[in-house]
Symmetry: D2
Subunit: 420 residues, 4 copies
Amino acid sequence: MEVFDKLESEVRSYCRNFPTVFTKSKGSKMWDESGKEYIDFFSGAGALNYGHNDPKMKQKLIEYITDDGITHSLDMASTAKGQFLTKFYEAILNPRNMDYKVMFPGPTGTNTVESALKLARKVTGRTDVISFTNGFHGMTIGSLSVTGNSFKRKGAGIPLHNSVTMPYDNFMDDNYDSLDYLEHFLEGSGSGVAIPAAVILETVQGEGGINAASSEWLQRVEKICKQWDILLIVDDVQAGIGRTGTFFSFEPAGINPDIVCLSKSLSGYGLPLAVTLIRPDLDIWEPGEHNGTFRGNNHAFVTATAALEYWEDANFEAGIKKKSKMVADFLESMVENYPELEGHVKGRGLMIGISSSVEGLAEKVAAEAFSRGLIMETAGPDDEVFKLFPAINIDEDELKAGFEIIEESIKSMVKEPISN
Amino acid sequence: MEVFDKLESEVRSYCRNFPTVFTKSKGSKMWDESGKEYIDFFSGAGALNYGHNDPKMKQKLIEYITDDGITHSLDMASTAKGQFLTKFYEAILNPRNMDYKVMFPGPTGTNTVESALKLARKVTGRTDVISFTNGFHGMTIGSLSVTGNSFKRKGAGIPLHNSVTMPYDNFMDDNYDSLDYLEHFLEGSGSGVAIPAAVILETVQGEGGINAASSEWLQRVEKICKQWDILLIVDDVQAGIGRTGTFFSFEPAGINPDIVCLSKSLSGYGLPLAVTLIRPDLDIWEPGEHNGTFRGNNHAFVTATAALEYWEDANFEAGIKKKSKMVADFLESMVENYPELEGHVKGRGLMIGISSSVEGLAEKVAAEAFSRGLIMETAGPDDEVFKLFPAINIDEDELKAGFEIIEESIKSMVKEPISN
Amino acid sequence: MEVFDKLESEVRSYCRNFPTVFTKSKGSKMWDESGKEYIDFFSGAGALNYGHNDPKMKQKLIEYITDDGITHSLDMASTAKGQFLTKFYEAILNPRNMDYKVMFPGPTGTNTVESALKLARKVTGRTDVISFTNGFHGMTIGSLSVTGNSFKRKGAGIPLHNSVTMPYDNFMDDNYDSLDYLEHFLEGSGSGVAIPAAVILETVQGEGGINAASSEWLQRVEKICKQWDILLIVDDVQAGIGRTGTFFSFEPAGINPDIVCLSKSLSGYGLPLAVTLIRPDLDIWEPGEHNGTFRGNNHAFVTATAALEYWEDANFEAGIKKKSKMVADFLESMVENYPELEGHVKGRGLMIGISSSVEGLAEKVAAEAFSRGLIMETAGPDDEVFKLFPAINIDEDELKAGFEIIEESIKSMVKEPISN
Amino acid sequence: MEVFDKLESEVRSYCRNFPTVFTKSKGSKMWDESGKEYIDFFSGAGALNYGHNDPKMKQKLIEYITDDGITHSLDMASTAKGQFLTKFYEAILNPRNMDYKVMFPGPTGTNTVESALKLARKVTGRTDVISFTNGFHGMTIGSLSVTGNSFKRKGAGIPLHNSVTMPYDNFMDDNYDSLDYLEHFLEGSGSGVAIPAAVILETVQGEGGINAASSEWLQRVEKICKQWDILLIVDDVQAGIGRTGTFFSFEPAGINPDIVCLSKSLSGYGLPLAVTLIRPDLDIWEPGEHNGTFRGNNHAFVTATAALEYWEDANFEAGIKKKSKMVADFLESMVENYPELEGHVKGRGLMIGISSSVEGLAEKVAAEAFSRGLIMETAGPDDEVFKLFPAINIDEDELKAGFEIIEESIKSMVKEPISN
């Protein structure tokens, strides 16, 4: 680790929780330089939903590179990009009766969010955007202004503007309806809150603590947006691409966002790629009004096209659902069997975790699990949640092996379980 | 092109100037789907300084992928990242007596700029940043606020704040000294301009019209920054990595920026990668205060490490200089031989072009060249410059072949050359 | 009225509701140029709490002018200012055990609010200020940014920043505790709401619709501010100087604001005057850091000093309370006797009115009353409240005469009262 | 002075330079509580251009108060306001062929500036305003954002936005044409400076150091504004109402601003009053879109109406010009006779002073003059100017008496004059 201490900025973070040098990976396994093996329940914070180095994608990528396919193309037309667009239409949009134009805004999550905010402001001529408590949308100034986390916001070094934070589903306790609050502010002409250009939300908040909004809540947000002619932006960067069981996280709620942000697992292989999906009549961009050097990352187009083929298999979603149930059952049993956790299960699909009321416990469990060979992250404003983000196509055996490590870690932390 | 028209957003831009579907590339050649061959004098707007699909990098990358090397690692330590850091230190920093910490801010140019601005504000506790006319630093709100282009700025949809634009070298005519102006505003306690956190600049402005600042101007900017305790940020995203003849564009001026932004050609292969170089004592980031999903793009680390080896060859810079002279001589001859161009040569190294006073002519020449098999971009606020961005390791024969196409294109546009 | 139509800007407003030219006034009576007499239940929107042209103040003012007393003194020391300061200390601060430094910020309400916001930001080093729904604090950009009214805010022509609006007491219905929201947003490190420099509030919102906060609510706000080290600013411009029954409106709640804003009736005679009261340890202003031409309006000092003498009479407050009860009883009887009003009584002290659910009815009643010789304003985001703002020292006979006109006006608007 | 030290905020400023308690004043004389007499060359920083307690205005005001004329009327129509409007039209606008609507924006300078900025943004739909180095426009956030002084700006406690500062006439030395800069920034589509809603300027900068723009400069600003469809706002709060020799300071330049801000000496008597003059077709305010409690300060209307009568006398302007010449000649002689001042004369009309290169000398001269019975202020970013602001109708004898005190003060400061 010496070279990193000496040469890399203090801003590095995950390497402090997972203090080893990783060298190889395959599926849900990773190996460090000493040869130690890890089960990966982290999945690159949602960027490796299909696991590491998927063999099909790998083969296509090697072939493409070998053949000297175009690597970098800005926003020029390329064969690989054409194939990605076609596959995205055929495997994803068309079967879901979705009609969106695809924008390549730069290859990262914050790029797609910034492009969405810009477009919403251009379309509506309004400046404000409503976001929600504990929302996370990225670290560039535009995205940061709609992000809730106070530590990240303070990092901006300037006051962040043109955004209003409203309470997310269940931000207050059950006696408070967060959308009554939103509606009251929109309706009141003396509320200090202007009708915004857009509402931006995650259906499940990843960084914010694995908070899952109910379908009813999402449907009512959509209805409020329609009523006030506000654009609805779903930031599906972390919850999308199968993480919650369906390609888009909002499919179960049956809502139709005006703009959708995708990145992380879109390339399938962990390569940088992002798209902004735009309701066709909102696609009023001037050519070049938003741009970026790495919009045409063709290696990512190649692996993304291969990844999308998974979704053409009708059984693929069923597999995620089955594993989701396994994980949920396991976590519920942990909460029940280890009351010392003072925990409750949060989340949806394979974006799920245990929130512990014991200060620091979630972090201790995750650290213990790491030493036992499992990679697992914490989340939430106080890192009070340890979260399970296994690959959506993980083997059931690997899943169970991971469960065992987690239980052992919990056990060793809480000392005396009630039963086992 | 049909699939792009149907599915892709109207924001696409380069594909309108280069209306074909590219499929393969090697060195300074590209081929479209019809098999037509192009010489590339565009180099991915500076992201392909070593040409396309460099064989050495290609081999390393295929090996790495074949061996299931880690692909995506956020900011965890990985073997490939460690090798990149080591090589960057040995081949670049150490030989130049430079002492910087390396931050991975997300893989794009705008990410490194946003991280630099944040850090400068955190370090100084000040909010404003001074940038220069015709500067271009990226399209997310933080970077856009220090970008000069009014079309891009308007795209923000909100007023852009915390920045002041000062005249770049030669923004006014020769009778005006742009740094007298800057100094006067800094000195005047009634000038409305606060002492800023940082000054951010490009040594040669790419998007802004291939404007090259003199070494004297850069040295005086550095001196002013020192005097007022202002951080100097050099955005070397486009002018760096050899484009002007040295690895960093500011080497000939002998200045020592406090923060340096690198991206575009850093990976060598056109893969997304960016770093922010930070004077060690300024590295006061808290862990995770800036983050991003694709900070650990290991494929890019692999190719970048291979690319940096070029710089260990003492003859490498000499080769760029030789080609720079060939290009400059050629462009000067064009200006002389084709007075109808009303042109003058601008730029430095292989970041050079002809600014034509004839409205629309630069664009016509570029379009004609494209039809004749050469890819070349225009730049400047009114696209008045056609610019030559060949690979820095281009063959001399390819270079000359490109010259021929350009001259033919000019000739056909201006009709009657004075001499040939 | 012709001269006004021809020469005065369209921005004029009250003259449209009270379309006549006023020429004389005395106590609670006004006369227009045709000689028509009006009872004044409007009191200059709270600037004439002691009625018009109070004889004692008038005499003092004429003497002062006759003697060539200093009229205008910026912030130089003057005899009249010294007398005002002394009287303010002796009659107001000292008897209430209050310890404040007195700042003269310019003679209007928005001036005192702007100075309070500046100081709070300087003292805390924070930028945001929390204000409340339907709050009104003034029309200059700083004050407007903490004002709720969307029509007024839009008039800024720029996005308003550095403020967050929280729900005022009873903004949501009774099932929601508005301070639970505030606390939740302050506590949540992912709430998007930073700890602010200050909370600014009116204890009774005048322009916002005569919304009176409960003492419990005010006490809890104070407690929250203390807990988070947030400054509490009470904007007592409209509710202060006796309007609600005590000199400061917050006396019954027993709270101790860090900063208090006073203006409107401070001079007693309707002359422009404002002060900002500052907890002594917060008085860290540099000399001249805030200034203004009309800080030393000595005519206003003279009348203000005379006005403050009223408060040395122990019976003065009792008189306001008695009239407050008369007004409240009258309004309750109106609501009861005229169910067609669909009204309910709102407010506190002599800052009280009837909110009618019948669209436009409040305005019709006020217009009818005007034609019958009574001046009365509407308030609230939809002008749904007609409000009674009689002088706090009005004769009981005048008060009753006003009641009669109001009842006649209501009657003629709702046609068939249930009983009379 | 004890009561002020004990009770008044530390923000007080002039009373530190003029440390006595003033009690009476008449014409150009003031008396303190000890009976000491002062000649006033300060004129309330431009608010007392007609001297103190002018007998004609005094008589009208006493009559009005005695008759119980309306004192406070918000923006209702009143007899006194009608008379003011009529007189303003007849004595000022009509003889100058000026066509403006009159807005009453609240009674202070910063109120009229805030209203002007709002209206310019509303009319144009643009957000930015261009102001000039060393401009001073007021202390509320909107006005402060177009004010140059860094100490005042910092007092805001928040970053100030939506404004760009350009160099005022002669801000750079004589080799630089400040409007070449402005034009270059407006023309350049990459300059980072958007076409603004308005340009705001003072024709002579008072607080900024008695900088007088040339007529040619003002005319070219007007031309540039016309060319780019930018509104021209002249802030004539300090330079207007006769201070430079004509009612409006811009009359000699022959320009026609779109909006004019007036306050300070408008009431004639030192009472708070301000108006915003609006080109009729720009008067698109909605009723009440800007408001304020003290827009209808009728005492000020009464004295202002009387004051405007001076301008009906053709000799009035000639008198100001004569005294202006006397002052200018005197100051030039001081510069010549006392080279130790290292001074040069700045300004125009009776807004004139000596800028001394000797650090602290201007302040010393002013302090010495005060002790000898003359009130005179310093100005400029470093208080390097002592400025003469006598009443525009001052007696020649008083003027000469003041000159003597100044010369004695200079003499005693520089010790050995070259000649006398």
